[in-house]
């Protein structure tokens, strides 16, 4: 009897593993097809192909110029020198580049699809709607933006004259990855609101204003109420700050735990808001 139970338990475990593998395989196939479709669409409008690179690239080059001018008059700002600031701008640019390349154009279309009722098509397909929405508008034209960001990061490291060890690179890479997830979740959370309300243009404006501010200002500048807003409510302030702090050795255990905690919190909020939001969705003109 016990032997039978053990065997059936093992079988159930194997079945779960097989199903999981199948789902991953299916999602990979879907991802490949979405990429081909996207490339096909982009080739129709070739001029727009590199648009994200030029638009966002110019934005971060201007940031570099502006802070270059400030640092020609001062040596440090809040304990950070020119090198740290370049690293910060490069890291924010890198997060933005990954965002633009992988998921921005997909996630950004959620409110429109909810308003027009196009989300129906996503709900009726045998693949997770959020998965498809996330990856259906990959932008290969933004890949040069990733390369440019890495160049800015390298320039920051050179300016700092810091030795680059493997643990430092791994730690930086880990935090960039974690913050990419946070960036994605913040975008989904804000756009999921469209499942509950009629218009969410204001919320997008708030997102834009918060991002614009934190793009220019590292988290170390925030204190008091600003810290509550940009470290917890709209945590854009920690997005590029934590990877930089991990690289320059300013991160302690408390900061690391806080960063992970915020990401975990937003993962839960995103999942809940999206799942519940789909229940509110009333098809066209919701």
């Amino acid at each position: 009897m016990k032997k039978n139970d053990k065997r059936s338990g093992k079988k159930a475990k194997t079945d779960i593993n097989v199903n999981r593998k199948r789902t991953i395989k299916k999602n990979m196939c879907v991802l490949r097809e979405l990429f081909y479709l996207r490339m096909h669409g982009l080739m129709v409008f070739r001029l727009d192909f590199l648009a994200p690179f030029f638009v966002d690239g110019s934005l971060f080059v201007i940031q570099l110029l502006a802070f270059g001018a400030v640092y020609s008059h001062v040596d440090v700002i809040g304990g950070w020198g020119r090198g740290e600031m370049i690293l910060y701008i490069g890291t924010f640019s890198l997060l933005n580049a990954v965002n633009m390349t992988v998921y921005f154009f997909g996630v950004n279309s959620i409110p429109y699809k909810v308003r027009s009722g196009e989300l129906d098509l996503y709900l009726s397909k045998p693949v997770s709607p959020l998965f498809r929405l996330t990856f259906e508008n990959i932008s290969p034209g933004s890949v040069p933006l990733i390369l440019m960001s890495l160049c800015i990061v390298a320039y920051g490291i050179c300016t700092l004259r810091m030795p680059l060890t493997l643990p430092v690179v791994i730690s930086y890479g880990f935090w960039v990855l974690v913050m990419t997830v946070l960036y994605y979740e913040l975008e989904v959370v804000i756009r999921s609101v469209s499942l509950y309300v009629v218009s969410m243009a204001r919320l997008e404006q708030i997102e834009e204003a918060g991002l614009e501010l934190c793009m220019k200002l590292p988290g170390i500048a925030f204190y008091g109420v600003y810290k509550v807003i940009f470290y917890l409510i709209l945590p854009y302030g920690i997005m590029a700050t934590l990877p930089v702090q991990s690289m320059i050795g300013e991160m302690n255990l408390q900061t690391a735990a806080y960063g992970i905690g915020v990401v975990a919190l937003f993962t839960a909020v995103t999942a809940a808001l999206w799942t519940q939001g789909l229940k509110h969705y009333n098809s066209a003109s919701s």
């Binding site: 110019s58 001018a69 400030v70 700002i77 501010l213 200002l217």
Partner: protein, 276 residues
């Protein structure tokens, strides 16, 4: 004969005045936009406040600025940049040429450029009061000891320069919109232009913090006189540049008018009225 001429002039002015009035009234429909426009001026001020507060903790002067002088500059430049709303003109023309509805402007009995000028005037006149209130509120909240120009001549000069700067920006966006007749898609270019404008008009940081060579080069461009110089003049700096600056922006407005005239004559024939 003379009264007929005057009557004709008044009629023409009345026509554009109606456009201005209509756009002023239209703004009332978007009341939430008005409030948010006021509120969002604060992001520029927060950026300046937090950044320069950190910087001025270690020193009393940066370039020729004290902390309160710097904040006064940001309050004025933020007020002026918030009033500069002509970007929509370029986009409107771009969209209408692309979908073929630009014909509307060819049919109505007004000069298209003047129509957009009147439209911009209506929007600016509506927002000027609210943006002024917002600026005063930020001065109060951030406890800024506001530094303002003392010389009346300089103040008048700065106000006229800021108005001419806005006229120039309307001309620029009108010209960029017309480029759709040749290049079909200018959306990307408009976005890059916005990024560049933030730097060259001194809304991110005052241009005075750049090396002297770069500032000299900027003086040759019209953008120096759109927000940066009026803001500097109103915060009591660069007073020696007031009259030359005014002359420079007048020249740029005239040059831009010639460019618009040439572009209009050259490319209008490409417009087919059916969209691209």
């Amino acid at each position: 004969m003379q009264s007929g001429f005057i009557r004709k002039g008044v009629n023409i002015l009345g026509k554009y005045l109606e456009v201005t009035k209509t756009y002023m009234k239209t703004q009332l429909v978007w009341r939430a936009d008005v409030i948010l426009n006021m509120v969002f001026t604060v992001t520029k001020i927060i950026f300046a406040y937090l950044l320069w507060k950190m910087v001025f903790q270690q020193r009393e002067m940066v370039g020729e600025f004290t902390f309160h002088g710097m904040m006064s500059y940001y309050i004025i430049s933020s007020f002026l940049s918030q009033l500069e709303m002509s970007e929509g003109i370029g986009r409107e023309i771009h969209e209408r040429i692309r979908n073929g509805t630009f014909s509307k402007y060819l049919i109505i009995p007004v000069g298209i450029e003047k129509y957009f000028m009147a439209m911009e005037l209506g929007i600016v006149l509506f927002y000027v009061v609210f943006d002024f209130i917002a600026a005063m509120v930020w001065v109060f909240i951030f406890r800024i000891q506001f530094v303002f120009a003392a010389d009346n001549g300089v103040i008048v000069c700065a106000v006229v320069m800021a108005v001419l700067g806005m006229v120039f920006m309307v001309q620029l966006h009108y010209f960029l919109g017309l480029l759709t007749l040749k290049y079909q898609g200018i959306g990307t270019f408009l976005m890059i232009k916005n990024n560049l404008m933030a730097l060259v008009t001194g809304t991110i940081i005052p241009l005075a913090l750049f090396p002297e060579g770069i500032v000299k080069m900027m003086r040759l461009l019209p953008f120096y006189y759109v927000i940066y110089l009026p803001a500097m003049l109103l915060s009591g700096k660069c007073e020696e540049e007031a009259w030359t600056g005014l002359a420079a922006i007048v020249c740029w407005c005239l040059v831009m008018q010639f460019i618009i005239h040439g572009t209009w004559k050259k490319y209008l024939r490409k417009y087919d009225g059916v969209g691209i």
